[in-house]
């Protein structure tokens, strides 16, 4: 590892995250004065603390979700040796949306929604993996195709669900599908944290193997990696990260695709560095995007997925253009 370059990248990512967190806590539809927050008394101080207590879970959840998506994206790009892989490529977004849609239409309590979305995401991943089996092995090319099929299928299911859902249910579903951190609570942060930690730990443990996969699956096999078991584990960990993130925050695009590219440009493709730097940068991006979604048209809130797309698409276009 180029130690200096990695240290620099890591430091930059941490700095960005710190800035984003401060930005996230201080901005929003309501002006929050740091002075009031720290030293204010009476109504001004109370208001400041109240707003901060509403924003803090959102900032924490944004950071966690951004982390999960970016790490899952980076790992999948290496596993599939495909720079265009993103965490949703394998059907998890479609499955999650379908799960949440069914829960909503069935009139279940909104508290059930994250569980339903998670179940849908994991269910879809399992189905996609099963589709991609070829002679006892997980065929990575078929995996991509199977994921595309799954997402297409779920889109159709969703459209059908939308057409029979009441107007309000449809609007709420749509808002969720575009990604929203609006109802972040400390409970959700605590619920997501173990998934994030576990998924991250597993993927980092597989960083060396992922480096070998990034040169090729055959390359990994020839160097002694048990490729079938590794594929299953990495796939499962990524699906858990993605499913959990989507369950709590809806479908937020571009983070899982873009952040690994940006991190790669900064620290190279060594997964031992790329995974942690992607995690931190992903957190920073989503915290910033959430802050923008709260402030751009205050008091109205934009869906955060719209913000990440608005930021992400031009950046991606720029990255493509500068790489001949």
């Amino acid at each position: 590892m180029r130690a200096k370059r990695v240290a620099g990248g890591l430091a930059a990512a941490i700095a960005l995250l710190a800035i984003a967190v401060v930005f996230g806590l201080l901005t929003g539809g309501v002006h929050l004065s740091p002075v009031d927050l720290v030293a204010g008394v009476g109504p001004a101080g109370e208001t400041a603390r109240l707003v901060a207590s509403l924003r803090a879970p959102r900032v924490a959840l944004s950071a966690l979700v951004g982390c999960c998506l970016a790490v899952a994206g980076a790992a999948l790009q290496a596993l599939l040796k495909n720079p265009l892989a993103d965490p949703f490529l394998l059907g998890t977004s479609g499955g999650a949306a379908a799960g949440a849609a069914f829960a909503a239409v069935a009139g279940l309590s909104p508290l059930v929604s994250p569980a339903a979305a998670f179940a849908g995401a994991i269910g879809s991943s399992v189905a996609v993996a099963a589709l991609a089996r070829r002679g006892g092995r997980l065929d990575l090319q078929r995996l991509l195709l199977a994921g595309l099929i799954a997402n297409a299928f779920f889109s159709a299911v969703l459209l059908a669900v939308f057409s029979v859902a009441s107007g309000q249910t449809a609007r709420t579903m749509l808002f969720w599908m575009m990604g929203s951190l609006a109802d972040a609570t400390p409970g959700k942060v605590l619920a997501l944290a173990p998934y994030g930690a576990a998924g991250f730990a597993v993927l980092v443990a597989f960083a060396g193997r992922l480096n070998l996969f990034a040169v090729g699956e055959e390359n990994a096999a020839a160097l002694g990696v048990d490729v079938e078991s590794s594929k299953r584990i990495v796939f499962l960990a990524s699906s858990l990260l993605t499913g959990a993130a989507v369950a709590f925050a809806g479908i937020i695009g571009f983070v899982g695709l873009l952040v690994p590219h940006a991190a790669r440009a900064a620290v190279g493709n060594d997964q031992r560095a790329l995974l942690p730097v992607s995690a931190i940068a992903g957190a920073a991006l989503l915290v910033a995007a959430d802050a923008v979604s709260r402030s751009a048209f205050a008091p109205a809130e934009l869906p955060v997925g719209a913000v990440t797309a608005a930021i992400g698409a031009p950046i991606f276009a720029w990255l493509l253009l500068r790489n001949p």
């Binding site: 929003g28 539809g29 309501v30 208001t47 109240l50 707003v51 509403l54 924003r55 009139g107 909104p110 057409s163 029979v164 009441s166 107007g167 309000q168 609007r171 709420t172 808002f175 929203s180 609006a182 109802d183 709260r294 048209f297 205050a298 008091p299 109205a300 809130e301 869906p303």
Partner: protein, 230 residues
């Protein structure tokens, strides 16, 4: 007859052809004398198809209380019951005028109307409900944003909301109550707002009954005897 039409009770006996999206075939098979459609809310496709098939289609304006009155008059004309329609429209119109008169000159409390609690989705500027809120003598805090914006919990917890209008049905009320007790509506200044529960079937569907809802809303906001409520 759409699935949303459940008043008067006699209407429930009439065959149903769908919700907001309508099956053109189903409609045509019932061989109606007249098809009523609105500019928004109905799928344009089926309506165009029905018109092309030669069925008489009357497209009605929507989006405001005036549009409701206009619709009533036009329907009356189309059905050859112009006098009746004009009577109804005039009476609704004068009810509206008297509400406006009643609330004029009074202080307009700051209000928000939420069509959904989590995430909190409000009626913004240019909407039908914004007009109702305004006619009932309240100031819609979300008027500056058009359409149906989702508002942040932090805004609700710091905004000077005095009246919170919640159109609900038996099915949706629990979600609103949860939001009030533990959710997005449970912290900060929104707790001090006075909650006005309304029947969403009456308030949110543009039709003659909205005028009754308007009166009810005005009374709730300003008091039945025109005194400002605490």
């Amino acid at each position: 007859m759409s699935e949303y039409s459940d008043y008067p009770t006699a209407a429930r006996a009439i065959p149903r052809v769908g919700g907001l999206d309508v099956s053109a075939e189903r409609v045509a098979s019932l061989r109606p004398d007249l098809v009523l459609a609105t500019q928004e809310g109905n799928a344009r496709g089926p309506v165009t198809a029905l018109a092309a098939a030669g069925l008489p289609v009357l497209v009605l304006p929507t989006g405001s209380l005036d549009a409701v009155l206009q619709s009533i008059r036009r329907i009356g004309e189309a059905l050859g019951r112009r006098e009746e329609a004009a009577r109804l429209a005039d009476s609704l119109s004068s009810r509206r005028a008297s509400v406006r008169e009643r609330v004029s000159g009074k202080r307009r409390p700051k209000a928000i109307l939420l069509v959904w609690p989590e995430p909190p989705q409000a009626a913004g500027g240019g909407t039908f409900l914004n007009e109702v809120l305004s006619d009932a003598g309240a100031e819609n805090l979300i008027e500056t944003r058009p359409g149906w914006p989702v508002v942040s919990a932090e805004y609700l917890s710091t905004a000077p909301v005095e009246v919170l209008v919640l159109p609900v049905s038996t099915g949706t009320r629990p979600a609103f109550e949860h939001a009030l007790s533990a959710g997005a509506l449970s912290r900060g200044s929104i707790r001090r707002a006075r909650v006005v529960w309304m029947d969403d079937a009456v308030l949110t569907r543009p039709g003659p009954r909205v005028f009754g809802a308007l009166e009810e809303l005005a009374s709730a906001i300003h008091g039945a005897d025109s005194r400002r409520s605490p």
